[in-house]
């Protein structure tokens, strides 16, 4: 009888351990990755992890420059009452004033948070939202999901939404090209790269190849500038000239980097390098490229620094210590404007967690840490005087 009772007890212990309870929220984790440093200009940065499509695993991490502590997955615990947390596929992030904006593509929203605490302030509903930039009290957001036209084929044009950052209300929309991606603001104009990414499967000519120029004052599209097929990114250098990348067509047409002279309003130079993603700091453009090689049956990954004055590829190495061989799929890049440390994310295989690397200005690895799934987008948190 006693043995029987023991058996029952053992069984119930096993059963209790293997039972389903309430699902617990995943709280943040602190990982000390570096020694404390005296901070210059910025307190830290936010890193938005995209999360694979449909997984609802967009998460937010924060690195504190002063303490050297990397805090993983901070959104849920600060905002416990938001059902299904931050959302599905984070695509861009930005800080403007005291607010942090996270563009969550497949959740069709921009999550607006307090920039210091990440406490939720509200959300802006924009379907299929892509990238965000700010200018004089307004946020400008690109979206793929404009009006549908059937003439004679189904077409859906993209738009830029203008959001009042104090009320978080959308005040105007300006139609642009098909599937607009990144945007940049320079000299009173908004420059939007149109990708046509939904339309190129049948052949390269289906892609868009223009930049839309919107006059900020009238919020009207003024003109289109022809660049190349399937544009993705646009970033202004210190003179307000624009650096534009094309994804290529994934087949014969390679990815490239283009220089748009703002005064002339046309492309005046092409840098024949794969520019998958880049960051401009001072006069330097830090770029990495991933190119598929049918010869090696693998990706060729390159890291380069381009001088935005001379348009030359400099001898500077972003990674000089061989760590580049460890990065499976570089996905995000950011340069600290003061320390010149370079931060690169590795998205790995997309379905499991990626990593963030920090390199000093000599290209030596300072630290690396596991991030969320598909880490990709940085926002520096400035120290306001």
């Amino acid at each position: 009888m006693k043995r029987f009772l023991y058996a029952i007890f053992a069984l119930s212990v096993i059963l209790a351990a293997s039972c389903r309870g309430d699902v617990e929220m995943i709280l943040s984790e602190d990982i000390s990755v570096s020694n404390p440093e005296t901070i210059k200009g910025y307190k830290g940065f936010y890193l938005l992890n995209e999360g694979n499509m449909g997984s609802n695993k967009a998460t937010l991490d924060y690195y504190n420059f002063a303490t050297g502590i990397y805090k993983r997955n901070i959104y849920a615990e600060v905002n416990p009452s938001v059902p299904k947390e931050l959302g599905d596929v984070g695509n861009d992030i930005g800080i403007y004033g005291d607010k942090l904006y996270a563009v969550i593509n497949c959740s069709n929203k921009i999550e607006v948070m307090d920039a210091e605490t990440t406490r939720r302030i509200g959300q802006i509903e924009i379907p299929n939202c892509r990238f965000i930039k700010f200018h004089e009290g307004y946020a400008y957001i690109t979206s793929y999901a404009g009006p549908v036209i059937i003439d004679p084929h189904y077409e859906q044009i993209g738009f830029v939404a203008k959001i009042n950052t104090s009320t978080l209300q959308e005040v105007a929309r300006c139609l642009v090209g098909f599937q607009p991606d990144e945007l940049e603001i320079a000299g009173g104009k908004i420059y939007v790269v149109n990708s046509g990414g939904y339309m190129g499967a049948g052949g390269t000519s289906g892609y868009e190849r223009t930049v839309s120029v919107i006059d900020i004052e009238s919020f009207r599209e003024e003109r289109r500038i022809d660049v190349a097929y399937n544009l993705e990114r646009i970033k202004a250098d210190s003179r307000g000239d624009l650096w534009i990348s094309s994804r290529g067509d994934y087949e014969g047409l390679p990815a490239s980097l283009f220089f748009l002279d703002r005064e002339k309003g046309e492309i005046t130079d092409t840098i024949p390098i794969a520019a998958t993603n880049y960051w401009i700091d001072d006069d330097l453009l830090y770029v990495y490229g991933t190119e598929w090689s049918n010869i090696d049956n693998d990706w060729n990954i390159s890291y380069r620094v381009v001088d935005t004055r001379t348009h030359e590829i400099t001898a500077r190495k972003i990674i000089a210590d061989g760590t580049d061989k460890e990065i499976e799929k570089p996905y995000g890049i950011m340069v600290h404007p003061e320390t010149k440390d370079v931060f690169i994310t590795d998205a790995g295989n997309y379905v499991t967690p990626g990593a963030v690397y920090c390199f000093d200005k000599n290209g030596k690895k300072k630290w690396s840490v596991r991030a969320g799934n598909i880490p990709g987008h940085f926002a520096l948190l400035p120290i306001y005087e």
Binding site: I104, R247, T352
Partner: protein, 685 residues
Amino acid sequence: MKKVSIRIFVAAAFVAVANAVFAQSAGDTTKTLNLADVVVYGTHLQREVIPVQSLSGEELKKLSAFSVADAIRYFSGVQIKDYGGIGGLKTVNIRSMGTNHVGVFYDGIQLGNAQNGQIDLGKFSLDNIEEVSVYNGQKSTIFQPARDFASSASVYMRSRTPRFVENKPTNLKAVFKTGSFDLMNPSLLYEHQFNDKLSVSFNAEYVRSSGRYKFRYKRVFPATHEVMYDTTALRENGDIESVRFEGGLYGRIPKGQWKWKSYFYNSERGIPGAIVNNRWTNPQRQWDRSFFTQGMFQKSITSKYDILVNAKYANDYMRYLNPDTTLMLIDNTFRQQESYLSIANRYSLARNWDTSLSADLQYSSLTSDMDGFLFPNRLTTLVSAATAAEVGKVKMQASLLATLVRDRIHSGNAAANDSVRTAPDKKEFTPAFFLSYNPFADHNFNLRAFYKYIFRMPTFNDLYYTDIGNANLKPEFTQQYNVGVQYNNQWDNEIVKEWQFQADVYYNEVSNKIIAVPKGSGQYRWLMMNLGYVEIRGIDISSWAVVEACDNLFLNLKLSYTYQKAQDFTKRKSEVLQESTYGGQIAYIPWHNGSLIAGLTYNSWQFNYSFIYVGERYHSSANIREEYEQPWYTNDMAIMKNFRLGKAKLRASAEVNNVFNQDYEVVLNYPMPRRNYKFSITVEL
């Protein structure tokens, strides 16, 4: 029960005959369906070396199972990926080698999906299914088409074969099911026997369901269990409407049999999609139309030589629509055709030594109106040579399969300047060995072992899908080692009438595993590559017993348990990433899972209780808390009553599924139904 002489016309594919050994239950009509009543041609060598796991007849009817997928969950070593609801996709994964390694056979001939290699078992209702079986390795008989040697594991579905009692040449059966999710499910079966040599069967089924059910997401703080959020919503766009028609002719000839059967299925369904923040419904739709016609002919030419011919033509249409204006408009149709011919020969060299030679030809093609789509077609030639021998207490089987694959593509909708590449021809030779040892003459105790080396071809999607496909892909190989034991005993005058136990220990390797890897920037571009390597170590245990608790009260018990360690040993480039996935349990494979079925039969009353447990698991091979998924388990109950009304036999049943109202997900962000009900009435004339 009145003993009736039962003739069975062509127990499905030849092999299914042997399966009927397992069609086991107490005190019902199927009891008469055992090997003794079935015409078996050839020798005992044709029996399987390694027995099968199967559910059939009354057992199947009693389970709270709607589709074949629901029934398969009760087998050990099997994982079902279920996206929820009646219309939700349900695929099977056996011993963690992956869905694409499972061959699914309907009435003896494999169902094809050249596009993605996965069969949605949710589309096969149990209405007309008499038996569902799962084999590891392969069905260990040698007299079968070469295709049957070509998968790592197989699921066989056998539809009802007409059988008639004396002086009653016509059977009529009508079933009506209704219940939760606004289910309407009538079906009709008509069987007629023209004479000893020829009978016919027709079956029609209609399914309609709104697929609506409540689901709940609740999160709590870890330590305090204080509620963070608790939201209940309605699952939308999970509706389905489908019709199925099946017809068959069944014939007997001297020393042989033939069968010809046609199948038509047409459906429209919503794809309810993943539930993510700020998006709780999805508008995607899918239309499927499947047709196939297949024939089988088997004859003993001499006492030593048998021939088996199988042929099939299948035509499938699928349309996928994504009308979501926030996303890319997708409205694509895919058409797939398959022709198949197989000739199997068995020759008996001696009383205890058989050989077989089978040759199959299969041609499949795929077209679509999708932009940039390449139109592939594939000719697969399979030749198998096998032998089976019995030496004393040992039974042995060995088979060698030669597979030749030749792909061709038309440029389809791709632009002329696009590089169009055909995958190189493949030629593979793969063996399998099976061994069984019966040490005691007076006990049904046996030891068994098998080894199998086989592969799956990359699917058309893997090779040619617009932008994603990679024509350089190599086949994905599996290597299986298995040892096991089985014990079976029967007692006539004891409380326990019959008891069976089986256990297997196995080790599998999956190499050149085809996985999607990201291409370029952004999440919209992927590429298929042979990158993965997985090792699987597992134990499958199953047991059943029949107990006569008191007069006329029978208890049937069936238990299964699986332990699996399925580790991802794919090398990563950095320490950080290696730490998070290397050696990790692969996505959605629990370490522990099991099931219990308990059926009580008392005269015309039946009660059935079934329990399924799936232990903790992770969404990916990163076994970290962010990817963790809790165990889930469901308790289902059903009660049935058989009665007569004049000449008609009636059967009424009521089911409660997920009795304890558990909120769970099998696949992340696809909530499963909570407590639900089903009622059915069957009339047989």
